[in-house]
């Protein structure tokens, strides 16, 4: 990819980041929602601890685990909604003739939004988790979670892009998104570390990208050393590649079969 091409897509990111910076209502809403969820779960983990749950990690680190998984998930902008609307309205047709790849432009736009959301939500996660637990994980753990979490959010953004492209065939991608989201909850270990799920769920999760995107980066704060940074990096690279190939293939298939009516 040439410098000119990179600059072109960087401009998409810059524009969306500027827009996101101006229209902060949704971001504030997400921050408030994030704080509430962490509050609810800190109460839940306290209740679980009272009930004597045999967990290796203590309730405080479980709140930080949730803060990390939620940060990764909430930072990724739901770009599938915009893509779905563009496809349903037919606006995508006008974009196909532009001297920029539709898929890369949408991804760059999503990345720009992510770049604005991630720091705000990260700060919210940190402050709320600290307020609810009066404890912080070791700095070395946070230094691993932040970069890997950001990369995971980027891959999730690309996956949203793929879900959005399904609108070429399905019109309404909401049902796919719901199930995908809940699979992320369970197989990604969003609220509960995967070790607490039955063995068959853990085995099923190993064949999906979800644990590498949520549980693996977040589990660093649990201090269980379940995954090394090297293994985490390898898994993220593999799933990034798989996602890129899948999205690119889907778009080629969609464009080759799309029917354009009117003018």
């Amino acid at each position: 990819m040439s410098a000119g091409t990179i600059a072109k897509y960087a401009a998409f990111s810059r524009i969306s980041a500027t827009q996101a910076g101006r229209e902060r209502n949704e971001l504030y809403g997400r921050m408030a929602f994030f704080a509430v969820i962490l509050g609810v779960f800190s109460s839940l983990w306290r209740a679980v601890a009272e009930a004597g749950m045999p967990v290796a990690a203590d309730p405080k680190s479980l709140v930080w685990y949730l803060a990390a998984t939620e940060w990764i998930l909430l930072s990724a902008p739901p770009i599938h909604l915009e893509i779905q609307e563009a496809i349903r309205r037919g606006d995508v047709v006008y974009r196909l003739g532009h001297p920029a790849s539709y898929v890369l432009a949408e991804f760059a736009t999503g990345f720009g939004l992510l770049a604005v959301r991630a720091p705000f939500l990260g700060l919210t996660a940190f402050l709320c988790a600290f307020a609810f637990t009066e404890w912080t994980p070791p700095l070395s753990a946070l230094l691993i979670v932040v970069p890997f979490g950001f990369v995971a959010s980027t891959v999730i953004t690309a996956l949203y892009l793929g879900i959005g492209l399904l609108a070429f065939w399905l019109q309404d991608v909401a049902p796919v998104y719901w199930v995908w989201q809940k699979l992320m909850f369970v197989l990604g270990g969003l609220m509960l570390p995967l070790e607490l799920y039955p063995a068959f769920i853990q085995r099923a999760a190993a064949f999906t990208p979800f644990p590498s995107l949520l549980a693996a980066p977040a589990s660093v704060v649990l201090g269980t050393n379940a995954v090394t940074p090297g293994a985490l990096a390898r898994n993220l690279v593999i799933w990034s590649g798989v996602t890129a190939i899948a999205v690119s293939w889907m778009f080629r298939r969609a464009v080759s079969t799309v029917t354009i009516n009117g003018g």
Binding site: I37, L44, E50, A51, V55, P175, Q181, K182, F185, L192
Partner: protein, 262 residues
């Protein structure tokens, strides 16, 4: 007057239902996927409760009942009054104009404008959760119907209040949606997790307590006092919602404005 409105609402719901099921494939997909969505979410509770038997006195069956209760009430809400989640946009975009010229109550008309097929998935899965909890006998079926209906009325009333803020504050879609989601979120977690000021909020401003906790208490141990309180509260929130909406409607500005596309 009331009978007329009830008859109009019934006709509106019937028309919406026909429109919803007209696209049979899309309808079935939405219903099935929403039910799957709910069952997948519940795996969290199921896995957690494999490790602990009770959470401050709540067992898995109680959580199933709460989850089923809220899902069924939410499903009923978005099926019958799906327009509630779009009220903010209707107000902001001037979409109430067409309803103002009709001889029927604007709020009832606006609420009935959008029926969400996924609501049937919520409703069906909610009822399955309630039966699955093993705490309900057939003799309690009338109570189940009453508390689900009351809970749905509170959902509709709260949504109407949240989204009617658009009359005074303009573009409130995001804030109102977040308030709505918070109401749903809080109502899905066991009551004993929350205490102090938050508990007070959950029985007033964000009445998750009346949407989920009190109905579950009634289903576990029916009492005339609790049913009366629930009915009273549902009626109160509904009256408040109608009052706020009608007040807001006096401030409503028409949607006759220029729009440019480029």
């Amino acid at each position: 007057m009331v009978a007329d409105n009830v008859s109009f609402t019934r006709a509106l719901v019937a028309t919406n239902f026909k429109a919803t099921v007209a696209l049979r494939g899309a309808f079935v997909i939405q219903v099935v996927f929403m039910a799957l969505n709910n069952f997948t979410f519940f795996i969290f509770w199921w896995a957690l409760m494999q490790h602990v038997t009770t959470l401050r006195g709540w067992q898995l069956g109680d959580i199933q009942m709460l989850f089923g209760m809220v899902a069924a009430a939410f499903g009923l809400t978005v099926t019958v009054a799906g327009g509630v989640r779009h009220l903010g946009r209707f107000i902001e975009d001037g979409d109430l104009d067409t309803l103002l010229t009709q001889p029927k109550p604007v709020l009832v008309n606006a609420l009935g404008l959008r029926s969400q097929p996924s609501g049937f998935g919520d409703l069906v899965s909610g009822l399955i959760f309630i039966v699955w909890s093993g705490q309900i006998s057939w003799s309690r079926l009338p109570i189940v119907v009453v508390v689900i209906a009351a809970s749905a009325v509170i959902f509709v009333a709260c949504g109407t209040v949240f989204f009617s803020l658009a009359f005074w504050l303009g573009r409130v879609e995001t804030v109102a949606t977040q308030l709505w989601e918070l109401l749903v979120t809080f109502s899905l977690y066991p009551e004993p997790l929350f205490g102090g000021t938050l508990r007070l909020l959950l029985f007033t401003v964000l009445p998750a307590g009346f949407v989920g906790y009190l109905p579950v208490r009634i289903l576990r141990a029916p009492s005339l006092a609790n049913v009366t309180i629930l009915m009273f509260v549902a009626t109160g929130y509904l009256c408040l919602a109608v009052l706020i909406f009608n007040r807001g409607l006096r401030r409503y500005g028409s949607g006759s404005r220029f729009t440019t596309f480029g």
